[in-house]
């Protein structure tokens, strides 16, 4: 398609006048039917790379996405922009709603689907009857065992591609090492995939680290920083509770600013409310967990603070990358104490089932098998064995891999079961060690004496662009004198209920209220 035309279509569907770096190249590739692995930095508008082709290509575009809430947000936003033919298929929907979508696949242009549902045999059958013109794997690093968020169901995608007779495939990711890139291509069995890799360093973000002695000192530092700069800010936490607590402290300290918290434990309506408020500049400071950020298009976040140590550099790069999407100077600060390493260590443990639990699950499976009973519901297993969702998903995948679970049924022999048991334990240990290694890299970065920018990106790319402002706290930084663009939100909110009601309902002073 002629270049000029593509820009016109972009304007027509999404209202943007021009492409961001990388978007156009990738779009042209997939429109020509080329399989692409696209690696673009956080905040560069990855989704346009498939949303626009979905509108232009005949047939259906399938997008596999690992996070249901993110999927739902995307669909909502597209619908709000009046982009036609967009829908989703996920486990929040009941059977009837899902059937409705599956039976009408031919009516849609763009379908977001969770990997679990897509790889379900009953679902795949429906897709054989429609023309799938583009198959998109979002957050493609989830397919790699060595990616930082391995999702077992992603490994089944290459089979789905076979069933769909190999439609044009676009794998997208931010922040992946060259090894993981190779692993993605290998797992998808597409050695000829074209690599479109864009550098992930952000010249407009100043990187800063500060070692402190206690959590109290962290709070002091944060307050001092927020006193210096009145800018939209995100503060990342590993724990929901600490995020809530800190939000309360900051709300007290800054009565003239709007502070709130955000985490995955909140109800969906409230999560959307907070996101929208932040984007509308109704909020200044958000204390959040890693659940916040993906799919947020806010250009003017100037300050990102990490209160806890991220589990690996990939997460840090992504979260810090939410700052300064408009290209203006922004600051990313990581605060840490020597004790902080214990939190991610604990979190790593929580991602994997304990050996003793694996043993009990095996016993239980054997008992079920002998009684001729099927595999219980996920929720039941999670409750029964006190497994969290991630742990059971991992274990279930392992059991499937060893052919102990097929569909809903258990197949086992003593021989097979013994072998599988030991292999799963070995796998758990291996994953644990690998995660610890990633954490160790993070800690090394924190403790190193060299330039933060250089050592942060070294693993991912050979060079980086010169920063537009100061480089990092190692290279020298004058804390209080960064020329960050100030933004004081003038939020109108009346304490008087009647004023507030008038304001919301856009009723002028002329109305009589008596």
């Amino acid at each position: 398609m002629a270049q000029l035309l593509l820009e016109k279509e972009l304007q027509k569907y999404f209202g943007y006048p021009t492409f961001r770096p990388g978007q156009k190249e990738i779009i042209q590739d997939v429109l020509e039917g080329t399989d692409v692995l696209g690696v673009l930095p956080t905040g560069s508008g990855k989704s346009v790379c498939y949303q626009l082709p979905a509108m232009l290509l005949e047939g259906l575009t399938i997008v596999v996405s690992p996070l249901i809430s993110l999927m739902i947000d995307q669909v909502k936003q597209l619908r709000a922009m009046r982009v036609p033919g967009v829908t989703t298929l996920n486990s929040f929907m009941d059977v009837r709603q899902r059937q409705q979508v599956l039976k009408n696949l031919h009516r849609y242009k763009l379908l977001y689907v969770s990997p679990e549902l897509l790889t379900h045999p009953a679902t795949v059958a429906y897709f054989k009857n429609v023309r799938v013109s583009l198959f998109v794997i979002d957050e493609a690093h989830c397919i790699s065992q060595w990616g930082h968020e391995f999702r077992p169901d992603y490994l089944k995608l290459s089979t789905v591609l076979d069933t769909l007779e190999q439609p044009t495939t676009l794998a997208l990711s931010a922040t992946v090492t060259p090894e993981v890139q190779q692993d993605i291509i290998f797992s998808l069995k597409k050695p000829n995939m074209k690599k479109r890799i864009y550098p992930m360093d952000r010249p407009n973000i100043v990187l800063a680290l500060e070692k402190v002695n206690s959590d109290e000192e962290k709070i002091e530092k944060i307050i001092r920083l927020l006193n210096t700069y009145t800018v939209p800010a995100l503060i990342y936490f590993s724990s929901k509770k600490t995020a809530e607590k800190t939000a309360a402290i900051l709300a007290k300290a800054f009565s003239d600013r709007h502070v709130t918290f955000y985490h995955g434990g909140m109800e969906q309506t409230d999560r959307i409310a907070v996101q929208q408020q932040f984007m509308n500049d109704q909020l200044d400071i958000i204390c959040c967990t890693s659940a916040f950020g993906m799919g947020i298009n806010k250009d003017n976040i100037r300050l990102i603070i990490h209160y806890h140590l991220p589990m690996q550099k990939e997460s840090y790069i992504q979260e810090a990358g939410r700052a300064g999407r408009d290209g203006e100077l922004s600051l990313s600060l990581l605060l840490f104490t020597n004790q902080d390493i214990h939190i991610p260590e604990q979190l790593i443990k929580q991602e994997l089932p304990e050996e003793e639990t694996v043993f009990r699950v095996f016993q239980y499976m054997t008992a079920l098998y002998n009684q001729g009973k099927p595999v219980p519901e996920d929720l039941y297993m999670e409750n029964q064995f006190e497994l969290n969702e991630i742990q059971w998903r991992f274990l279930k995948f392992q059991l499937e891999k060893h052919d102990m679970i097929k569909g809903n049924y258990i197949h086992l022999t003593t021989e097979k079961s013994k072998k599988a048991y030991h292999s799963i334990l070995a796998c758990i240990r291996e994953r644990h060690d690998w995660k610890m290694k990633k954490l160790e890299e993070m800690v090394q970065w924190v403790n190193s004496k060299s330039c933060l920018r250089e050592s942060l990106y070294a693993e991912f790319q050979s060079s980086f662009s010169p920063p537009i402002g100061p480089c990092c706290s190692r290279c020298g930084l004058d804390w209080g004198k960064l020329p960050l663009l100030e933004k004081k939100n003038k939020v109108i909110s009346y304490n008087d209920w009647q004023q507030q009601l008038k304001y919301i309902l856009q009723v002028g002073e002329d109305i009589e209220t008596e």
Partner: protein, 345 residues
């Protein structure tokens, strides 16, 4: 405090005849017939489904807290049954309970409220010439309703906003400052998203549960008032039109009802529908509760009914098991439940 007061009220009314999880199911609005029947039996139907998002954890935490504060204590017979302490009684007596209409109008009030929120968001955005915004109400049915009625409003956005303002202003008058505040700050308008429950809790220094329940109470009362005085609230009564969900019966109970009306017996219906006898029994109890004048005589003879009623009086209890123990053996649980369902009508 409101959340506590509601739980205390429930414990008081249940009088150690139902366990604490019965209260949880009641507030959450479990559809099962046992919960619905109990709601009527113990005159707690106004609290039915006033807190659908309540989690088991939060509920249990609150029960533990009430116990620690010595407002309730565990019953004599079983650990999961509670009674009020003297302190609990005193506290409850002093508390001015908020008004709810859970079973009768709760669902309708919530449909009314969701429509209202989405309509305000839509009108204020359209009034500013903006047609693209993220709807704050996800429910497809509510979104569809807006689509359907919008042509009637189109071009008159300003007048509608004025009208709705005036009516909401009048409607909110009798409420406390806190309730008014929560209600108006929850509203979403043009480029102005309403506060989340957590934000409201923080803004008004209230407990999260209380914010949810206060808002629920306001919704119920508004709905009832608007429908009582339709002429005073022309805009809002338009919003509340046809918001009562089609009959409170489950689909399955409706089918059983149709077959009963055709003259089929319980066993026949069970075999026609390939369902268990017990399920049909549940349907009949559901019908006895929800359908006015549903005759229970075909299933309980006048003598049997008398036996059961007397047993209830003698025991001064609604406990199925206790009643079963003292009535003649030929009377079964199904018959006891049917008679109980008639008790509070």
């Amino acid at each position: 405090m409101l959340f506590e007061a509601i739980i205390l009220t429930c414990i008081k009314e249940l009088n150690e005849e139902r366990s604490a999880s019965g209260i949880y199911h009641l507030l959450k609005g479990k559809k099962g017939i046992q919960t619905v029947q109990d709601a009527f039996l113990f005159r707690l139907e106004n609290y039915y489904r006033i807190y659908p998002t309540l989690t088991r954890d939060d509920f249990e935490r609150k029960i533990t807290e009430l116990e620690r504060k010595k407002l309730i204590r565990r019953g004599k017979e079983s650990n999961s049954f509670y009674r009020l302490t003297d302190q609990g009684h005193v506290l409850l007596k002093r508390y001015k309970m908020k008004c709810f209409y859970g079973k009768r109008f709760g669902d309708a009030a919530n449909i009314f409220y969701s429509r209202l929120l989405l309509l305000i968001q839509t009108l204020t955005n359209r009034n500013m010439g903006n047609t693209t915004f993220l709807p704050i109400i996800d429910d497809r049915k509510i979104q569809y309703w807006i689509k359907q009625i919008y042509p009637k409003i189109k071009g008159k956005e300003k007048n509608w906003l004025k009208g709705m303002y005036q009516e909401l202003y009048n409607l909110l008058q009798p409420f406390s400052e806190l309730e008014k505040g929560i209600f108006v700050h929850r509203l979403t308008g043009y480029k102005r998203y309403g506060l989340s429950i957590e934000q409201l809790a923080e803004k008004f220094s209230q407990d999260r549960h209380d914010v949810i329940l206060l808002l629920e109470s306001v919704k119920h009362q508004m709905y009832v008032k608007v429908n009582k005085e339709k002429d005073l609230y022309p805009h809002l009564s338009f919003v509340s039109k046809n918001s009562i969900p089609a009959a409170a019966l489950t689909e399955s109970a409706k089918t059983t009802y149709r077959l009963l009306q055709k003259g089929y017996g319980i066993e026949q219906i069970a075999s026609i529908r390939k369902l268990k006898i017990n399920t049909i029994h549940d349907h009949i109890v559901e019908l006895a509760i929800s359908v006015p004048d549903f005759p229970i005589e075909p299933f309980v003879s006048p003598e049997e009914k008398m036996e059961i009623v007397q047993a209830i009086k003698r025991l001064n209890s609604f406990k199925l098991k206790d009643i079963k123990n003292v009535v003649p053996d030929h009377i079964d649980y199904f018959q006891i439940r049917l008679v109980l369902s008639n008790q509070n009508k």
